[in-house]
């Protein structure tokens, strides 16, 4: 268990209780003490050391911090860690297994879906949510699904190709 209120400069003010919360992150239950104002993105990065989730704009524009919350993509900089009590969170670290990459990770590699890589974790989590509800998306549907995730390098072209690549591979493996 890690205490997270010390990440914020001063100890909690009198009368501000630190909350103990238990959330499931990538299949594992984690119990942490958090101050209510701690954002989920900061719990993941600083408290649980899962730095694959990036914080970009910090104003819910860029989508770099996208994780799956009970299977739905959310911007983890725009939710408090206390709100995740009793819920499931999936981050980019949960995609690969010990022996193999997730098809989305393979797709981003095969189709050169990244340059600097900053937006990539958020892109992959948004794409994962899309492919779970729509295994055979059109290019248009992919562009629509990642429209809340900003990339300043690729022009999106190869990201769309990477997701199409992953969708095809995932359909193939489920047949």
């Amino acid at each position: 268990m890690s205490s997270l209120y010390e990440e914020i400069s001063a100890p909690p003010a009198a009368g501000v209780p630190v909350r103990r919360v238990t959330l499931n992150v990538n299949g594992q239950d984690r119990t942490v003490d958090v101050e209510p104002r701690l954002l989920l993105a900061h719990l993941l990065r600083q408290g649980l050391k899962l730095t694959g989730t990036h914080t970009g704009c910090d104003t819910s524009n860029c989508g770099a911090c996208t994780v799956l919350f009970d299977g739905r993509p959310i911007k983890s900089c725009t939710m408090f860690a206390v709100q995740a009590d009793g819920h499931e969170v999936q981050t980019v670290e949960g995609l690969a297994t010990q022996s193999s990459l997730h098809p989305l990770q393979e797709g981003f590699k095969e189709e050169h879906g990244l340059q600097c890589g900053f937006c990539t974790p958020g892109m992959m989590m948004a794409a994962k949510a899309l492919l779970e509800s729509n295994p055979n998306p059109t290019e248009d549907e992919i562009r629509w699904a990642i429209s809340g995730n900003l990339c300043r390098c690729t022009g999106y072209q190869n990201i769309v190709k990477a997701i199409l690549w992953a969708a095809e591979k995932m359909r193939g493996s489920s047949n």
């Binding site: 501000v16 209510p36 524009n61 725009t78 429209s147 809340g148």
Partner: protein, 291 residues
């Protein structure tokens, strides 16, 4: 960015939530989807002493159509729930048109319809649809429930008619008396940006004539604008090129846009009349086809 400190409560019932708000004496704020509130806290535009998180209160996440035809949207119904709702797709074209245009797809999984109306952003989409549809908000406080018409709900930029100890628990779209038509068009520079301008339209027709009309404008004034003069001009006759053009002019006149980085005031007025005539033309064509 860290928000200011606050006490956090996550009540399991509405009664508990209302007593927390009452005890907070105006310093407590309701947290639903948080997609506007959390950024405002981080930017320190708001610093409530307590957040009352209503996400753990059962029974608030619904959109349903009652036997009388009225549509009810619960306080925890997310934008995405409306985007994917068959009830909305089949029965409520104004909401159906606006749902995919709210914020971006990730924000839509979390943000709520009712919360967005309460946030009362002059550039928010849902207030315009609620005014066009002549809907109302159901507020629950220590002394029970009351209905607040959408046209009176927003009292100014980021200000609504709720008392500090009331929670908006439901949005209601009244039962239509005729055939339902509507649309929503929004100009934004990119997905997730605030509206440069947007127009919400809700019409009911009977026997080829408009029997009720509602038009509201987003992003072209200090609050959502009820273009009721333009709407009233359509009632009592069929949609014609002349009546549509006239309504477009009246709606543009009702707008109170300011020139800014999204465009000049005259450009925004032009968008308002263009969008309104476009929506009305679509409705006119679809009703002709249906007849």
């Amino acid at each position: 960015m860290y928000p200011p400190r606050f006490n956090y409560e996550s009540p399991k019932s509405l009664a508990e939530a209302i007593s927390l708000l009452t005890a907070g004496g105006g310093e407590a704020k309701v947290l639903a989807g948080g997609q506007s509130l959390v950024p405002m806290l981080k930017l320190r535009f708001a610093s409530p002493e307590m957040l009352v998180d209503i996400n753990n209160i059962p029974g608030l996440n619904y959109v349903r159509r009652d036997a009388d035809g009225s549509i009810h949207i619960g306080a925890l119904c997310r934008h995405e729930d409306l985007e994917k709702s068959e009830v909305i797709a089949e029965h409520q074209p104004t909401i159906a048109a606006a749902a995919p245009l709210v914020a971006d797809p990730i924000v839509r999984t979390r943000g709520t319809f009712v919360g967005s109306v309460c946030h009362a952003d002059p550039q928010g989409d849902w207030s315009a649809t609620m005014i066009a549809l002549d809907g109302h908000i159901v507020a629950q406080g220590p002394n029970g429930k009351r209905n607040i018409p959408a046209r009176d709900f927003v009292t100014g930029p980021f200000q609504n008619a709720l008392a500090f100890d009331e929670i908006a628990i439901e949005a209601v779209i009244p039962a239509p008396k005729g055939d339902v038509h509507g649309g929503y068009l929004k100009l934004e520079r990119r997905v997730g940006d605030f509206a440069t301008a947007a127009v919400a339209v809700a019409l009911e027709t009977s026997g080829g004539k408009v029997i009720r009309a509602g038009i509201a404008l987003t992003g072209v004034g200090g609050r959502t604008i009820n273009a009721n003069v333009a709407a009233d001009s359509l009632v009592g006759s069929a949609l014609t090129i002349e009546s549509i053009t006239r309504a477009g002019e009246l709606a543009a006149a009702a707008a109170e846009p300011r020139s800014d980085h999204r465009g000049s005031a005259s450009y925004k007025r032009h968008i308002v009349s263009t969008f309104l005539t476009r929506i009305l033309n679509n409705i006119s064509e679809s009703t002709v086809k249906a007849a």
